[in-house]
Subunit: 336 residues, 2 copies
DNA sequence: ATGAAAGCGCTAACAT
DNA sequence: ATGTTAGCGCTTTCAT
């Protein structure tokens, strides 16, 4: 900036005024300064600028995802990026792989860079460590799951109603033995979805058979094996509800391996890529990561602009997409 | 930091020494300082620190992707994140949607934050605007395609050999009428892949039929329609090479719609999710985004550490995965 | 309308 | 081993 001032033959402050589009600069000098700026290919240092600026913002937010490479996370990421871009804010993204420690580390790194706000898909089971940060003015929004032991905004899918709808869809097709496949019960969404399943089954007055419940499944292979076991059991399920996308993929593989993909119904929570070209096409309860991301970003920016109203917990609707696999009716042979 | 010094009852510099793990602090004072730090929940401001530090790095890199939400980009992103994390570097990510202007804007925003390096999946056709930046010491690596009019490192898939291999695979199965589906020829990778196709066809001494070449296809729908047309033509292709993942998905849909998925061979460039559960499973030439990302990051960090050797252009091998769709042999009925 | 001086949080260079 | 002073690139405050 000093170089620009020297080249333009003006004072430092005049350059600063031009750069910040502040009033009080004569058109003549402004032109000179602008010429010098482009001649030197000058760019103001946002960090230095915000350092001095009282209550200055770094125009930067941090994003803690489960994994930047998974489809749900990255769709979220994109929606948030778009909101941020409209406000000239840049986003740091990081993956924590469901590891609470990594979550803390990432948030710490964000703090070191003085981000104005943080959006977190939480992994840890205790977020009290963020209390000070929140009080100090960093905006904070939790996505997909609420914060644990911290009063903060959150945005999540309607897990319970989505699960209930999936199970009711299978019940309506005549199924009575419906298996539930889920991730670790310690994960909030996994638990909510199981709760939805349980509610729907209870409401239908069906005997709750816990041998049909398989949880703690961490990837598609685990799901595939669990389903293979279920299908080999004496009284196998006629329908399967896989409550997470990787588990659904495992389900597709397992049914195909057993050549039962046209006899056993399958419905998944969260849409999967190419779910419509598989044979049969996969019925799912689809989340709306774009809407979730947008809502989270809008909430965050509102907080960054000074909104101090009580924390809100937004619930984003899900949508059942019937494509074929969830509409298969129970057959005598499949359960014998 | 002043607060910490005051609470610990020591000088500012002592705190600085402790924070930076510099030698020359007595254990007694160090303990006091550490206590004060955790009591105040203090975190050093990396930006301020690097501002003063001579030749200081912000420990930050920028990443320009086509779209953070697409599978190739996000796999790249993750690999780069992992390399960066090992060096305690945070990454800014942004999408430019093949828009050269947006690419420039993003890079400008990165500059404003004084990132130490930038990894770009290039969209624009002229990168001379980065010359000054590069000379000023910002590390720069191009991914997926080389820089245009700029001498900089690049990492890309082996597009030509991959395409050649795909076509030769189809030739080996007996095909003589092989269609090529591609994106805009102005996109470097699209052009390279067409070149590979052309080479392989020429080498096989087959008549080059330009009616089998469809380029400028921007999404799966365009691909689907183009293929429907090709199949409806008097002398339709017996095999199809879709040179990009979205086009492959369009190909799957088109063949399924025409009920020809078991008669017309299909092979795609770049793997697709669930490519193995579709019926028939889709043969592809798979890229290795992880390897590309890792290589790009390692290159970038080497530059950031001061390596000034001539620019290198790394080529990452691709791998043909035969899953079924590419092994279908030509049938009389399909070509009549 | 313009600029000089002070200071943001921190580290370099130099004391003590 | 510890502290003091100057200054990174910028904005603030206060002159002129």
């Amino acid at each position: 900036m000093l170089d620009v001032a020297a080249l333009a033959g003006v004072g430092l402050k005049t350059v600063s005024r031009v750069v910040n589009a502040e009033p009080g600069v004569s058109p003549a000098l402004e032109a000179k300064v602008k010429r010098a700026i482009s001649q030197l290919n000058y760019r103001r240092d946002v960090n230095a600028s915000m350092l001095r600026r009282l209550g200055g913002k770094t125009q930067t937010i941090g994003l803690v995802l489960e994994d930047v490479a998974n489809p749900f996370s990255s769709a979220l990421h994109r929606a948030i990026e778009d909101s941020a871009r409209a406000r000239n804010v840049l986003v740091f993204a990081g993956s924590c792989d469901e590891d609470g420690l990594r979550e803390r580390e990432l948030i710490g790194s964000f703090r070191d860079r003085r981000v104005d706000g943080i959006i977190v898909v939480p992994a840890s089971s205790d977020h009290t460590f963020l209390y000070e940060e929140q009080r100090a003015g960093t905006a904070l929004v939790f996505v997909d799951r609420p914060a644990a032991h911290l009063d903060a905004d959150s945005v999540a899918s309607d897990n319970i109603n989505g699960s209930t709808a999936a199970v009711e869809h299978l019940l309506a097709a005549g199924h009575r033995r419906i298996a539930f496949l889920g991730d670790l019960p310690s994960i909030w969404t996994a638990d909510e979805r199981l709760r939805g399943y349980t509610q729907a089954v209870a409401q239908a007055g069906i005997h709750y058979d816990e041998t049909l419940i398989r949880t703690g499944l961490r990837d598609s292979d685990a799901s595939m094996h669990a389903i293979a076991e279920l299908l080999a059991a004496p009284d196998p399920p006629t329908a399967i509800f896989t409550s997470q996308n990787l588990l659904t993929i495992g389900g597709i593989r397992a049914l195909k391996a057993a050549a039962l993909q046209h006899r056993v119904a399958l419905i998944g929570f969260d849409d999967i890529p190419l779910g419509d070209v598989v044979e049969p096409a996969i019925s799912v309860v689809a989340q709306d990561p774009q809407a979730i991301g947008r809502a989270a970003a809008e909430l965050l920016f509102r907080r960054m602009e000074g909104d101090t109203s009580p924390a809100v917990h937004q619930v984003v609707p899900v949508r059942l997409i019937a494509r074929g696999s969830g509409e298969i009716e129970p057959t005598a042979s499949a359960s014998s």
